[in-house]
């Protein structure tokens, strides 16, 4: 299965990158943009068909390494193998 781990800075934590991107979007004319938060996505292939095991592995990896709980929150999204890449359009 594929585990997507989305890591974002916690609400309220200053995000200098997001702020710079928002400024750039404003300069490009997107005046309606009121806020941008930049994050990270990790796409992790796990050798299992068991969604429960994949989710458990994903949350352990996020808590140990992928996210820093002092400043970041994470979210898991599970995908069946090949669901993203091989799906018919």
């Amino acid at each position: 299965m594929t585990v997507l781990v989305k890591v974002m800075l916690k609400p309220g934590v200053l995000d200098p990158q997001g702020k710079a991107i928002a400024d750039a979007l404003h300069r490009l004319g997107y005046g309606a943009v009121s806020d941008v938060r930049a994050g990270k996505i990790f796409r992790i292939e796990v050798d299992t068909d068991d969604p429960k095991a994949a989710r458990e592995a994903g949350s352990q990896m996020a808590e140990k390494l992928l996210a820093n709980p002092v400043i970041e929150d994470y979210e898991l999204v599970l995908e069946e193998a090949g669901a993203a890449a091989g799906a018919p359009r």
């Binding site: 934590v13 200098p16 002092v70 400043i71």
Partner: protein
């Protein structure tokens, strides 16, 4: 060489310093040189994959870009085998100094509170800054006056230290802020803080006071040849503290 000889090192013997070398450390030799020249120390370089620190008086986690700074600065160095030994050494009250990337690693490892964000201005900042000594409760500041202003360089992109409000309030109550960024005259305000860190924090310690992390580089300001000697005062303070502890 203008190296200060540690004449006061007689009673307790020559200090032993372990400098940890991670893949991507680049201030390890500078830290070793400052330890030799200022402390007159016997320096052991300890690789990230080693566990034996060699019974040191002081462990230095040097600056650099450990593991390429991938993911987050210090995030991967934290899992190096050597860090288990560093944590055990610190747990017994051993003195640990984390400089720049070393500070980031100590935060990631949970040995110091808080975490690092990208610099407020998003730029890598490489210039001299002024630090005000805010606490004398660590071995590196015990022999320096509170309020003294030290000049030394910073060189980092992720030095914007932050902590949750509740955590920071506890730190203030326990006198854990060791250095703050100030202007040349020692006042806080515009131009002092190079990275946007919370409350102008430049360096902190753990509750016990034996683990200190700071973003500026004292080892790069430890000889006149390097443009300043204010950084040497941290090493000298450590030597003084060590002598006092050995009852000399």
């Amino acid at each position: 060489m203008s190296a200060a000889t540690p004449a006061d090192g007689a009673g307790a013997g020559i200090p032993r310093v372990a400098v940890v070398v991670f893949p991507g450390s680049n201030c390890d030799e500078d830290a070793a040189l400052a330890s030799r020249n200022v402390l007159g120390a016997d320096v052991k370089m300890v690789r990230h994959d080693e566990r034996a620190l060699g019974d040191p008086d002081l462990v230095i986690l040097p600056g650099g870009f450990s593991y390429g700074d991938y993911l987050r600065s210090g995030a991967m160095a934290r899992f190096s085998p050597v860090m288990e030994s560093v944590a055990a050494f610190a747990g017994q009250g051993g003195a640990v100094l984390g400089i720049c990337n070393g500070f980031q690693i100590l935060c990631e490892a949970g040995l110091l509170p808080g975490a690092m964000l990208r610099n407020e201005g998003l730029r890598f900042v490489c210039r001299d800054v002024f630090l005000r000594v805010e606490s004398k409760r660590t071995p590196f500041t015990l022999a320096i006056n509170k309020g003294d202003v030290l000049r030394m360089p910073v060189a980092h992109g992720d030095g914007n230290w932050t902590a949750e409000k509740r955590v920071y309030e506890e730190m203030l109550a326990r006198d854990q802020v060791v250095f703050r960024y100030v202007r040349a005259d020692g006042s806080r305000g515009e131009g002092g803080n190079p990275n946007g860190s919370l409350d102008d924090v430049a360096g902190i310690c753990n509750v016990r006071g034996n683990i200190v992390g700071l973003m500026p580089h004292p080892e790069r300001a430890s000889e006149e040849l390097l443009g300043g000697t204010d950084g040497a005062r941290l090493f000298k303070s450590f030597a003084t503290t060590r002598m006092a502890m050995h009852g000399a």
